[in-house]
């Protein structure tokens, strides 16, 4: 080709000749050689120039090697002096930062790394990673997160940075960010280990989304998690939480009423519990086993942390306030029921429910508390009654245990009381539900032998208020025993039984009510008052047979105070008004007697006529009272029949000393009241009586009063 070009007589051929000139080639070769030589020299000069100003190079290299070979403390010491002498040695600064980090001084390490990056523009993924690690070790998670994001924006493919970002964001709870880093790393590395860890991170991110109220996002994340690892427990739990019923084991299936197996793959209970892990990783929160099978700590399947797992519910480690009480409650001991009983006594509904749930087991401690509670028994008694109605045998047993406990010498010496009186009201309220049990007790030899129990049986039958059942007692109990027990019972509880008083001969009427030893006047009165109209004659007969008695009369008068019983009480008192006059007058004069009762009492007193005058006059004291006007009015309402007794009463007030002008003050007020009563009586008889009194009266003031009353009476 060259020959062909040479053949052409052109400028190109001249150029070729020139290029083929040996001188030219020599010049080119020499120039090239010189250029290479100069280039090499310049390069060497440049590298030597870089060395200028470098100090303590041996120390620098020594420190770097110490740092790289795992001797951070030596490295930190050596490199510290290098950086002090040669602050612009970026390598020394970076190595010093690494050494300080290795020596667990992250704050100082961060300072060195930061200066290397910001002041000396020492970039690179390793520097960024070091900065992130420094911040993380120093506990500055927020800044570390910012830094790792910035570093990833610059070095998105750096695996070490990606792994650090994954771990850091997981620790900070930014699981979605961690997941992004994890995905990138997984794309580069793959492997089952990363797959499991990624599944854990996705599941954590899903749980977080769920707690934020984003179920759709959570569902996506759980799906992704199960895509990585189909056995991931947390993702399955999460799916169950957002309503995938397939993931919830059928609860009833396989769980029996016997012992439960809480572990094992085949255990239905274990399947349920798997949704609610007990132990989690303390670093990333992934569910973990408490310990491996051989007693070693199991590693976290997600982050690989080997520290012991912690409770998913940290509060499980909280201390119990009263462990002793907890055991008592769990084992339902007497101490626990006694504590409940004390609470129930104060009105605690929860304690009440718990006692009732306790059933027969709660009875003994309840009875003990009841027995010791003195007057504040009402709430406890109600619970015991409920329990006794459900299980009367247990009540009787508990009573027997309690009774047996009090039979010791110490109890006798300390005067421990008999519990039966405290239990009697309970037995009286057990009602028909316990009848079968008590009928059996009545017929049992053991029941008959226990005197206290016999009394309680009587209590039960009295409380039952069933005449036919009460009649059964007659077969096993002597009337005198029944009467004795009836006498200790409150009247209002005996009354319902008496109110059933049958027509004709009966055990109740003949053996009990007519027994003079029966001291239940209030009960009789209450029964009579509660009984319907058609039974009233029966009670009248009983009262007639027993005689009204002071207590009965007082009770009847007392019942005049009450609106419900007033009519019947007045009706009964009509029969015994003469006997009960004193009681009637006392009630009439009593300022505490309600006003509504006064008309009834007044009617009953007025019906007694002139016999009522002396007790009425005795109502006047030596000084005025608020009832005086009422008594004066009642006396006046008696009319002329009262004039003579009033006159006699007037005369009796001063006795014989009055006649001789002594003791003028005695009975002055009473006599003034009598004068007013006489003044209020219509008719000439009263006027005449006033005249006679005026003539006889030696007390000038009273005489003046009598005259004035008479004058007014005579004045039309």
């Amino acid at each position: 080709m060259l020959l062909a070009i040479q053949d052409k007589p052109s400028s190109l051929g001249g150029a070729i000749d020139f290029l083929q000139d040996p001188v030219f080639l020599e010049i080119v070769a020499i120039t090239a050689g010189v250029a290479i030589l100069v280039g090499a020299l310049l390069r060497i000069r440049s590298s030597l120039h870089r060395l200028e100003g470098r100090r303590l190079l041996v120390k620098y290299l020594d420190g770097v090697e110490a740092c790289l070979s795992g001797d951070p403390e030596t490295a930190a010491t050596v490199l510290g002096s290098v950086v002090d002498a040669d602050p612009e040695n970026v390598g020394a600064r970076l190595a010093l930062g690494d050494a300080l980090y290795g020596a667990q001084r992250p704050v100082a390490a961060h300072q060195q790394h930061m200066e290397a990056r910001e002041v000396f523009a020492a970039g690179g993924p390793q520097v960024d990673l070091a900065l992130v690690k420094d911040l993380r070790a120093a506990g500055e998670l927020a800044e570390a997160l910012e830094r790792v994001d910035a570093a990833l924006a610059e070095h998105a493919k750096d695996e070490a940075l990606l792994e650090e970002a994954w771990s850091l964001k997981s620790e900070a709870g930014a699981f979605e960010g961690a997941l992004t880093a994890g995905r990138s790393l997984f794309q580069r590395r793959g492997g089952a280990k990363w797959r499991e860890r990624l599944a854990g991170t996705a599941a954590r991110a899903g749980m977080l989304a769920l707690s934020r109220g984003e179920p759709e996002r959570a569902a996506d994340l759980f799906r992704e998690s199960l895509g990585y690892d189909e056995h991931n427990r947390e993702a399955r739990t999460g799916r169950a939480l957002i309503g995938s019923p397939d993931d919830l084991p059928l609860l009833g299936e396989g769980v029996t009423d016997g012992p439960l197996m809480l572990t094992g793959a085949d255990s239905p209970a274990a399947r349920v519990l798997a949704i609610f892990p007990e132990a989690v990783c303390g670093v990333c929160g992934t569910p973990r086993e408490g310990s491996a099978g051989n007693g070693e700590h199991a590693r976290c399947p997600s982050c690989g942390d080997s520290l012991p797992a912690v409770y998913a519910d940290a509060e499980l480690a909280d201390t119990l306030k009263d462990a002793e009480a907890s055991v008592d409650e769990i084992e339902e001991t007497d101490a626990w029921f006694r504590r409940l009983a004390l609470l129930a006594r104060e009105g605690d509904d929860g304690a009440r429910r718990a006692l009732i749930e306790g059933g027969g087991k709660a009875l003994h401690p309840l009875l003990t508390t009841l027995f010791e509670s003195g007057d504040s028994q009402a709430r406890l008694r109600e619970i015991v009654v409920l329990l006794g109605q459900r299980d009367p045998e247990a009540l009787i047993d508990a009573r027997g245990t309690l009774k047996a406990q009090g039979r010791g010498m110490l109890d006798r010496l300390t005067g421990r009381r008999d519990p039966d009186p405290a239990l009697a009201p309970v037995f009286r309220r057990l009602g028909p539900a316990a009848r079968e049990c008590f009928t059996a007790v009545v017929n049992e030899a053991g029941g008959l032998a226990d005197r206290g129990l016999r009394g309680l049986v009587v209590d039960y039958f009295v409380g039952l208020a069933d005449l036919s059942a009460f009649e059964d007692l007659a077969a096993r109990y002597a009337p005198v025993e029944i009467v004795r027990n009836l006498n200790r019972m409150p009247a209002e509880e005996v009354a319902p039984l008496i109110a059933l008083l049958p027509e004709g001969p009966s055990f109740l009427a003949d053996a009990i009510l007519l027994d003079p030893a029966l001291e239940q006047p209030n009960a009789l009165v209450l029964a009579a008052l509660q009984a319907p109209e058609d039974l009233q004659p029966r009670f009248a007969k009983v009262f007639a047979a027993r005689g009204p008695g002071a207590h009965v009369l007082a009770a009847l008068v007392h019942h005049l105070d009450e609106d419900q019983t007033r009519a019947k009480a007045e009706q009964l008192l009509t029969r015994f008004r003469a006997d009960g006059l004193e009681h009637l007058v006392a009630a009439f004069a009593d300022p505490d007697t309600p006003g509504s009762a006064h008309p009834s009492i007044a009617r009953l007193i007025a019906a007694c006529g002139e016999h009522a005058v002396p007790p009425l006059v005795r109502c006047f004291g030596s000084a005025p009272t608020e009832g005086d006007d009422r008594v004066v009015a009642l006396l006046a309402s008696l009319g002329e029949v009262a004039v003579t007794p009033l006159g006699a009463a007037y005369s009796n007030q001063s006795r014989w000393l009055g006649r001789v002008g002594a003791n003028l003050l005695r009975g002055r007020y009473t006599r003034s009241c009598i004068v007013r009563a006489l003044g209020a009586i219509e008719g000439a008889v009263a006027t005449k009586a006033l005249g006679a009194l005026a003539a006889e009266e030696t007390d000038p003031e009273l005489a003046s009063l009598v005259r004035e009353v008479r004058r007014r009476k005579e004045t039309p």
Binding site: L61, F276, P308, T319, A323, V327
Partner: protein
């Protein structure tokens, strides 16, 4: 002319000459040229000599080959002169150049730019073939070639390329290692042998032993050696190695070794426990607790007590630990046949909510469902609701044939879990 000081006649122009250096040089040359002009005969002689040389060289200069020969001869002459008069200076310049490259590569390594660093160290190694890099400005540190190889091996190891790392280390003359480099070599060699799949176990042990002897205070080597010894079942020797390392390492590193040693003793105790050697287990279990107070060691101590049937001592240890692992041990104490524990004693010694869960699980497993339910209720009442406890309660209710209560408990468990979300 600074030596003339104030007597310098050109002092007033010093500023001008500093700004115009060629004028200054001309002024200096002027007297020399004047002197040469006066020495004309001498110059004539020199001229004749040069003319003679020219005549000799002229045939060579006129031909290309001759010029080439002349150039080669000239270069040889320069080389001989340099070798004769400035050999060390030139070598030092080249060593400094190699050092500069080495420093650049080191900085790249510190920045994490491994490719750049590896290439840099490769260049240093190439220079090292021609120049002795153990001399020069950093001779006190050691040979740069060896350092470059060590750092290259380190890069290879960080990339999990153990074989190439081993190849680098194999080329290092051990006799030429300085102290620091010998430490590094020992450390890298230990890692390489421990990570190299093809070495015989005895070789690995021998190398690790050498490394440990070379740098006994190095924590990494000690741990590596101990791990390998453990793999060979020589726990006692492993403990010796770590004990020596702990004794000799710095104060800052000692706690880490102590922790590792404690774990090792714990492992030994666990092994002894599983093999039924309670005496050895007891002996080993106290050491970790003396060295480093860890939950694992305390649990192990409880295990040993439990194995000895000393429930009281086990309980004393477990009462301070509130973790799921400790809870498992408490459950084991309840189930222990030789020294069974009563619930009352358990709760009085470990009065925590998790003890109630232990009791509940024990009751459930024994079929005492009512008591289990009560224990769980007490647990729930004594603190915030726990999904796990609620789930157990649901199981207890199911077992009590109370499906509605079970569903309610489970629903509450799910709600609590959902509300709690991620920690």
């Amino acid at each position: 002319m600074s030596w003339l000081g104030s007597l310098n006649p050109l002092r007033a122009f010093s500023g001008y000459f500093e700004r115009h250096p060629w004028h200054r040089r001309l002024l200096i040359l002027a007297p020399i040229l004047l002197l040469l002009a006066l020495l004309n005969p001498v110059i004539g002689s020199v001229d004749k000599l040069l003319a003679l040389v020219g005549k000799v060289l002229e045939p060579l200069i006129n031909t290309g080959v001759g010029r080439g020969i002349l150039l080669v001869l000239l270069l040889l002459l320069i080389c001989v002169l340099v070798y004769t008069f400035a050999r060390e200076r030139v070598l030092n310049v080249l060593r400094r150049h190699a050092l500069s490259m080495h420093l650049q590569a080191t900085e790249a390594l510190l920045r994490g730019e491994h490719d750049r660093a590896r290439k840099g160290f490769a260049r240093v190694l190439r220079w090292g073939r021609w120049i002795d890099l153990s001399k020069g400005p950093v001779s006190a540190y050691g040979s740069l070639s060896i350092d470059a190889r060590l750092k290259t091996a380190r890069i290879r190891l960080s990339e999990d390329d153990v074989r190439r790392a081993r190849a680098e280390l194999a080329r290092i003359p051990r006799a030429a290692l300085s102290k620091r480099l010998a430490f590094s070599y020992a450390e890298l060699n230990a890692r390489v042998f421990a990570g190299h799949p093809d070495h015989l176990p005895d070789s690995v042990l021998r190398v690790l032993d050498d490394s440990h002897k070379a740098w006994p205070q190095h924590v990494g080597i000690g741990e590596l050696y101990a791990d390998v010894l453990l793999q060979h079942g020589d726990g006692a020797r492993a403990a010796e190695v770590l004990t020596e390392t702990m004794r000799r390492t710095s104060k800052g590193q000692a706690p880490r070794v102590a922790e590792r040693l404690a774990r090792l003793h714990a492992d030994l105790a666990r092994t002894a426990l599983h093999s039924g050697d309670l005496a050895l287990a007891g002996k080993n279990v106290d050491r970790p607790l003396r060295l480093f107070e860890s939950e694992e060691a305390r649990l192990l101590k409880a295990d040993v007590h439990l194995a000895k049937g000393n429930a009281d001592a086990a309980l004393a240890v477990l009462s301070d630990l509130a973790t799921p692992a400790a809870k498992e041990r408490l459950g084991a104490l309840l189930r222990h046949e030789a020294a069974p524990l009563t619930p009352r004693v358990l709760l009085s010694r470990v009065p925590r909510r998790d003890s109630l869960v232990v009791l509940a699980e024990w009751y459930l497993e024994n079929g005492e469902i009512r008591r289990a339910a009560r224990a769980l209720e007490v647990c729930l009442r004594s603190g915030p609701p726990s999904p796990r406890v609620l789930a157990l309660l649901a199981l207890a209710r199911l077992s009590q044939r109370a499906p509605e209560a079970a569903n309610a408990a489970l629903e509450r468990a799910l709600t609590t879990l959902s509300a709690r979300g991620a920690p």
